[in-house]
Amino acid sequence: MQVLKKYRNPELIKPMLNEISELSQKLDEELKLMEVCGTHTMAISKYGLRSLLPKNIKLLSGPGCPVCVTSQQEIDEMIALSKMPEVIVTTFGDMIKVPGSNSSLEKEKSRGADIRIVYSPLAAVEIAKENPEKIVVFLAVGFETTIPVIAAALEEAIEEGIDNFKLFVAHKLIPPALEALLNDNEVKIDGLICPGHVSIMIGSKAYEEVVNRYDLPAIVAGFEPLDILDGVKGALKQKVEAQVEVEDKVKAKVENRYGRVVKDEGNQIAQDLIRRLYQVVDTAWRGIGIIPNSGLELRDEYAEYEIRNVIDLDVGDSNEPQGCSCGEILKGIKLPYDCQLFGDVCNPQHPVGPCMVSSEGSCAAYYKYDRR
C-alpha cells in the first residue's frame, strides 16, 4: 500500500516537529504522555522520536507488553505445564525466555519438553489435530487485539471437534489498567497515547470513561513515525488549550487519529465473540498487583477448554526476580536506566525480568535503540 509509505516521509515529519516545538513553548509545565502498547514502545525507540521532541515533552512506556505484565505465578504454572509428558505447549515466541521462579520455557525445552513456537493460534489448532493423543495447550497471552484472534481459533477447534486443544488464559484488558494507573498516586501522567490495534477491537469510544473521569487527553494513534507524532501533537494541543483560564474550561477528550483502521465503535464481531466465550474477572498484573475487572476467564459452557480446569497446577509461592524494577518501569515511575540491573546484569542475552525478555518490553527497546 504505497500511501502508507508517506507516513514515514521526512518532508512531513520535519514541519510537524516544528509545529510541536512551537506549541511546546506554550506549556506551563512538563508534559508526560504514556503509551500502553509494546508496538508503540518499539516504534518510538526505533525511530528515535524521544530525541526529536522538545525537552519538556516526555514519552513514557506503560504496561503495554502482554508478556511483561503476565504474573510470575502464571509463568511458573506455564513452566510446570510444559514438564508434563502428555502436554504439548504452544506459544508466541516472546514467552519462551521469560524467567520463572526457577526455570523458563526455554530451559525446559532444552531439557526435552515439547514446546512449540507458533505465529498464529490456528497453527496450534493444527498441532492439536495432528497429535490427538496429546493435550495441546496454547498460552493465551495478550490484550484486546489478540483476545478475539485466539477466541476465533478456539471456536474453529470446537466446531471441528478438536477437544484436545486447550487454552491457558492469561489475557489482560487495557481500559481497567489505565484506570488503575491513573488512580495510583505515584504515577504522574498528563495524557495517553492509546494503543492503535487494541482500539481497532474496542473502538476509540472505550476511552471516554477514563478521559472524562481523569480529565486528560487520550489520542488513538497508529505506528508510523508521523502517526505517533500526530498523536503527541493532539495531546499537546489539548493541554495548551486547557491551560487558558476561562470560565467554560475545555474538557479533555478522546481523539481518533488512526481513522484508517480504528472506528469509534470498534470491531463488533470481535466484541461479540469475546462476550460469548468469556466473562470478566479480576486479575494480577506483574508489578501492579490485582486490578479489578481487568482479566478474562472462559464461561462455564467453555470451562473444559481452560487447561487449569483439566490439570491441577500447584506451583506454590512464586518470587519475582530480586533487584528487578520491572513493576515501577511498567508504571512509568522509573525509566529502564534507573534500574540498577539494566544493561549490566540484565541484558537481552541474560534477561532478569520480562521487560528485557520481550522484544517489545521497555527495557529491551531502550537497550536496543535508546542506550545512553
Partner: protein, 76 residues
C-alpha cells in the same frame, strides 16, 4: 505483541482468505472481518485479519497534512 501488518486480498475461501503480505502469499482467517473483497487491504495480526484498511481515509489524512504544511511554508 499487537503488531499487525497490511496485506492485499488475493482470493477468498469461506472463513479464510489468501493475501499478499509483502510479496508472500499466505492464508489468513477472516472470521473477524467477514465481508472482505479481492483487492481490499487488511490488517493482519497472528494469522487473522483484524480490520480493513480504509485506503481513502489513509490518503485523505496525508493530503490534509501535505496541504497544511505547504500552506504554512507559503505564509512564512
Amino acid at each position: 505483541m499487537c503488531l499487525a501488518v497490511p496485506a492485499e486480498v488475493i482470493a477468498i475461501d469461506g472463513k479464510h482468505a489468501v493475501v499478499d503480505l509483502n510479496g508472500n502469499r499466505t492464508e489468513v482467517g477472516i472470521k473477524l472481518v467477514p465481508d472482505v473483497e479481492v483487492g481490499e487491504y487488511l490488517l493482519i495480526h497472528a494469522g487473522y485479519a483484524i480490520n480493513k484498511i480504509d485506503a481513502q481515509e489513509a490518503k485523505e489524512r496525508i493530503e490534509l497534512l501535505e496541504e497544511f504544511y505547504a500552506g504554512l511554508e507559503e505564509i512564512s
